[in-house]
Amino acid sequence: MPFISPRVAMAGSSDRAARLLWSSVLLPMVVMLVLMAVPQRALAATGPNASIGGLTAKFVDVKGVKTRYYEAGQGVPMVLIHGGSTAGSSTANVWSRNIPGLAKRFHVFAVDRLGSGLTGNPLNDADYATPGQVEHIYQFIQTLKLGKIQLVGHSAGGAVAFYLAVHHPEIVTTLTIIGMGPENPPAADGPSRLDLSSCPDQNVYEGLKCRVEKLAWLKTTFDAEYWEADASMAMQPKSKEARAKVVALTNDAWRANMTAYRQKAWDLVRNDGVLKMPVMIYSGKQDVLDWGQADPTAMLRGELGLFDILGAKNPKVKMVIVNEAGHFPYREYPEEFNRDLLAFIDHFQSQAAPATKPLAKPAK
């Protein structure tokens, strides 16, 4: 269609009015239409249901809670559990760079935790606590009839994975904890290098997003597409409701319950040695969460402490430390993490009997 200059088309005394209409209304509309027609990076191509990375999330009802998850690949099932606080700034989207590669070898499920992402809020307030989170994942696995799984958890999701493995060891073939999940006694002493002083309050989404950015080491860990999807989920009414609920529910009794739950799990591990499946602890060397403020480099005391406790009764524990990597090493080096995870799982699958013959050792 030939373009007719508005100046030619609208000649005469109404010329100025016409030019005004064109420059302030019509031209911008044309520009916008053109921009919308042309794919642009700035307008991130987030899929439906806040999907990113070319993946497509879907939903399943888990004991009355509509649960969002990604599913890809075939073979032995693998479940990935994201970190962060409830309706905080982490969802199953955090695994977007790993799912395609892992799906070549496993039937991968990455799920939004109870109250997080686009998964619904708990039906009972009590389930906002960690045991409720753990039970939701367990019921997700039962609902989809996954049987025995390879379990991977990051940060707070690592805690969920840990508790799931402690209370339901029969369904966990291997356990991978990234970035120090369960707060282990004793946790690292003193404040960490995570500096939130320049972040908005942690009670608002912008504060949570700021915190996540500070936990990453590389600048490329999160991109515009990731944040657009993340914001869309975090700003849902049900997400705001969840965050407000958690604040309202967290009192001394709540904290005491959590401490008791955690302590019981640790006692089961330390005294009864219930965690017998192969465990991999995966850490970024520059994880500010495990980096004491006074230390020149991250001492990784929390993760090494976790190793001490898990390894005391379980020979099949392994720890990996990645240089130039922060709290999200699997997102910062996805190909390497996937490969390391495969190598870890493959080795222990090939072991018919325990690889070691523990002998009585004198106490050190």
């Binding site: 080491w217 600048k219 520059q286 379980n314 392994k318 990996v320 990645v322 080795h347």
Partner: protein
């Protein structure tokens, strides 16, 4: 004949004298210098000190007869054993790993200078780690395989660390296993405590006790043949000469300046991009000798300039965990090398520094 009895006596006397002279000559003709003796291996021990179904061979490296294993095809990999300056410490330590690694690599494992059945340095001033490094470097050049994947444990971990520092162009990837030699000194270790139960003599008894004490699964790591073979190699005259020379101060002054030299090397490695090949530190959590805290300190040194550094910590693992868990150890090393072989050379060194060091 009236003098027959005296002739008889004289004949007997002559024969006695001849016999005595013969005996004396025989005694004098026996090699009296220790260096000329070659011990006989006991039953079950190979004359070349070979174990594990492998067969060692020899090559001249700048005048030093060097014993080594060679197996497999593929990219070249060189394994460097620990301890040193003794006949009992040798490439035999890698016997449980070589067959598996040889499926993927062209594996070389040599006895270091003056260790195992490799000869002593020609010059007394080379009785130190610098001499060991130079000898191993010349061995790698002599094999004519180009840059290698270099692996070392304990004092051999020190050897490969300094070799990579001095000659980075021949090191493709570097694997350092349980070493106090390469690591910064961090407090004391538990080594002395676990060794109190060991006899000081004889050499092979002290050695075999020590190896078991610093292992987590000693019955899996070592068998009797391993120790008897080491004992045999230590019985060579050149091994006694090694001990004597070291006692007499060979290797000085560099030998007693080692810790200062190491500090300088660490300082340079932290400041300049010298050690930039992919590096894996692989540590046994239960090693009382090269303790984890030393490994973590070494990780700190190397990590400053080099982004391509990884550490694996293995549970239920002592000083010789590659012998305690050989399949797992091989798999982890192969996985590390496989990944880094596919990476582009130039990786971002660091993002804009998030923290002050």
């Amino acid at each position: 004949m009236s003098n027959a009895p005296s002739t008889h006596h004289r004949r007997v006397a002559w024969w006695t004298i001849r016999a005595a002279v013969l005996v004396v000559m025989l005694m004098l003709s026996r090699p009296t210098t220790v260096a000329a003796q070659t011990p006989t291996p006991p039953p079950g021990v190979s004359p070349t000190g070979s174990i594990g179904g492998l067969e060692a061979k020899f090559v001249d490296i700048k005048g030093v007869k060097t014993r080594y294993y060679e197996a497999g095809q593929g990219e070249p990999m060189v394994l460097v054993h620990g301890e040193g300056w003794s006949g009992h410490s040798s490439a035999n330590t890698w016997s449980k790993n070589i067959p598996g690694l040889a499926k993927r690599f062209h594996v070389f494992a040599a006895d270091k200078l003056a260790s195992g059945m490799t000869g002593n340095p020609l010059n007394d001033k080379d009785f130190n780690i610098q001499g060991e490094v130079e000898h191993m470097y010349q061995f790698i050049l002599a094999m004519k395989v180009g840059p290698v994947h270099l692996v070392g444990q304990s004092r051999g971990g020190g050897c490969v660390f300094f070799l990579a520092y001095l000659h980075p162009e021949i090191v493709k990837t570097l694997v350092i296993v349980d070493t106090g030699t390469a690591a910064p000194v961090v407090g004391t270790t538990n080594r002395q405590a676990v060794l109190t139960a060991c006899p000081k003599e004889p050499d092979w008894a002290e050695w075999s006790c020590r190896l078991k004490q610093i292992s987590f699964l000693p019955e899996i790591a070592f068998d009797d043949q391993f120790f008897q073979t080491g004992r045999y190699m230590a019985s060579f005259p050149k091994s006694a000469e090694t001990v004597a020379k070291r006692k007499a101060g060979a290797g000085e002054p560099l030998e007693s300046q080692f810790n200062d030299w190491k500090k300088q090397v660490h300082a340079r490695v932290e400041k300049e991009p010298i050690l930039m090949m992919p590096i894996l530190l692989y540590w046994g959590k239960d090693d009382p000798s090269a303790m984890l805290k030393n490994g973590l300190a070494l990780l700190d040194v190397i990590s400053v300039q080099n982004p391509n550094v990884r550490m694996i910590i293995a549970n239920n693992s002592g000083h010789f965990h590659y012998r305690e868990h050989p399949e797992e150890w091989n798999r982890n090393v192969i996985n590390f090398i496989d990944y880094w072989e596919k990476q582009p050379k130039a990786l971002p060194k660091k993002p804009s520094a998030a923290v002050e060091k």
